[in-house]
Symmetry: none
Subunit: 208 residues, 4 copies
DNA sequence: CATGAATGAGGATTCATTCAT
DNA sequence: CATGAATGAATCCTCATTCAT
């Protein structure tokens, strides 16, 4: 129903998201998109990995773009929801902020492909129609973080000489960019990462 | 710099790097690469913008990849050199670090296209031969920053419970990612950005 | 009628031609073929309209082409038979011709889809094997009309300076082409059409 | 400038219609479109016939559809203009009508491919955007003919009991449909065809 | 320096058809 | 009877690149 083309609002089978095959294919696609980049990944790459012919993918998805959309939508909706819960369950702005940061690293750990995708393809996404939801979602996430930062400034938890909008951007980029170098199977654990990040964020690099 | 690929042992005319047309074309290419992404930019896009036919580009450059290489090499060589100077001229690790951060924002301001390119196309670049220089250069930059961070830890300027490798990555990503949202013509000036960044980096977000 | 193609020596279930579902499907197919053109109509279009999956169509018909064939054969056999009756029951060539024309408009009214199909897809049909019957049938129809026209010339009913073969073609095309613009549900009735056509055919456009 | 897609209003080279190669290719395309039908003709068919690769066609035309458009536009514009001249130069409605009919057969003779295309692909065309000009042009042609027919009725040259709109359609279809069976290289000449057609149109089939 | 014509290797997508369940 | 997953071939189109002029 979100199809905006005038031609064929014909839905593909198995759109109920219940198809196991569908989920498998999406996972493969997410991994490849994340690794090679969306436009460097061909539908044949995906199909090959799935052991089928490229044309057969179109039994499940109406286009390559649709796959990307579905992956991102799933990730972003979940993220937003979780962020809401975290903030709602936090007693103080500081607790809220820490929760947001910690969960971000968890998301990077657990959904590396989707995070990578989001991190790397924003430029592309902003030019695609049907992807307004990405920007919309980003705006909501930003609103959550900035609300926390401003609340903390009001309560005196956070410093007054730092602009929330800038802090948000610096923190966001520092945190999410780690998806590019973090290795889920390496020795550096994601919670260690979170703690180091929080240490730096809380009291800075300077000693004493 | 000899061509290492097996493909094109072909000479290009007027490659004295002094050609004004060449510089113009590179600038156009850099801007387009940065805006649309390298693989989303066609040689025709570049040629169109330059007012010539796509085939004519090959009078100046032997391939699209060559253009990318030249843009990046120019940027990275300059950056590395500047970083060296900054560290060499700094009295303390803290002064060095601040200088590195400040200059990074200056570079973002002055060479937005090249920075964007570097920021967005690393994934692609790592798979291309002929682009080892990028990784090599990145390694050297990293070495400079980490040396500063470690020195600061030794001198007691910087805290001991933060791992230099991680601090480097967090700071690097926070700083360079700003190229994605920084507007050189906007009201927010790049030196303001640098100061806010340093404020946060030095003593953190928490009040008191 | 045995299948003459080398392709599919395959039996289809419930082909007794009596199946109600079959008739339904054929009607849908005829309508779509007529509206969008045979090659612009996909088996999925037909299946969609019928509320089943495209693969399921193959329970009823061995191919898309088979559907076309069946539709056309039904129409053309009926038409030829009716033309025979009309001529046989006519007292004079003129009466025969008028009957042929009138019935043609009736057929257009009642079997618009099949007539459209025949009218629009002849070019395609002539290249398909298994569709010789169309040309064969066309030849027989032509023979009937031309016999009437020649007989009329002999009896002095029709003018001598008009070549029957040409008159047949002009009349045929004028009559059958009306399927493209005739609207069965509009205010212009098919018998009015027939009378106007006959008026023009009989004594021409010039006054007095 | 007529491109309605939002993507690339980039014009192809040689749009000046002056390219000889372009004209050659259009002629080949017209012939194939007319013979096999537009959608049955592949770009490779055209390229093969031209002795180039299919992709090379896109150096000259931005799409298969564009080729069709150009062919039709050229034909229809010329036709309309000629029709205007004919009517303007005719002393009486009858003379005008005869001129229109005669020229139509000439057009069929000289531009068989374009006429065929127009005759056979109207159904398709009406669904394509960018092809409104076809309907627009058809409306104008119809207006010309009907004006002549009505004028003739007023002057008493033509009968009063025939509706101009219907006469137009019958004549139009009888005339233009002949493109399907007329052979420019055969023994039946196009002017003979015109005379026979006019004979029938003027005073009808009935003797005396 | 630039044009204009062409190459050739893909790339996404469509679609009739098959077949196990 | 119908589903749902898949095939395989074809289709339109893109794009970096070459090269004679």
């Amino acid at each position: 129903m979100t199809e905006s083309t005038t031609k064929k609002p014909r839905k593909r089978p198995g759109n109920g998201a219940g198809s196991a095959r569908r989920a498998e294919l999406l996972e493969i696609a997410a991994r490849l998109f994340a690794t090679r980049g969306y436009s460097q990944t061909t539908v044949r790459d995906i199909a090959d990995e799935a052991g089928i012919l490229s044309g057969s993918l179109y039994h499940h998805f109406s286009s390559k773009e649709t796959m990307l959309e579905e992956i991102l939508r799933g990730f972003m909706d979940g993220l937003l929801e979780r962020f809401h819960e975290i903030v709602a369950g936090a007693a103080t702005p500081r607790e809220a902020l820490d929760g947001l940061v910690r969960y971000s690293f968890t998301a990077i750990h657990e959904q590396q492909a989707a995070v990578s995708l989001y991190q790397n393809e924003i430029a592309l996404l902003s030019r695609l129609p049907d992807f307004d939801f990405v920007e919309e979602n980003s705006r909501r996430v930003e609103a959550i973080w900035i609300a926390v930062l401003e609340e903390g400034r009001r309560t005196g938890d956070f410093r007054e000489d730092l602009q929330p909008a800038l802090v948000y951007r610096f923190v966001r980029d520092a945190v999410w960019s780690s998806v590019r170098w973090y290795n889920p199977d390496g020795t550096m654990r994601h919670d260690t990462l979170a703690e180091q990040c929080l240490l730096l964020l809380h009291t800075g690099l300077l000693a004493g």
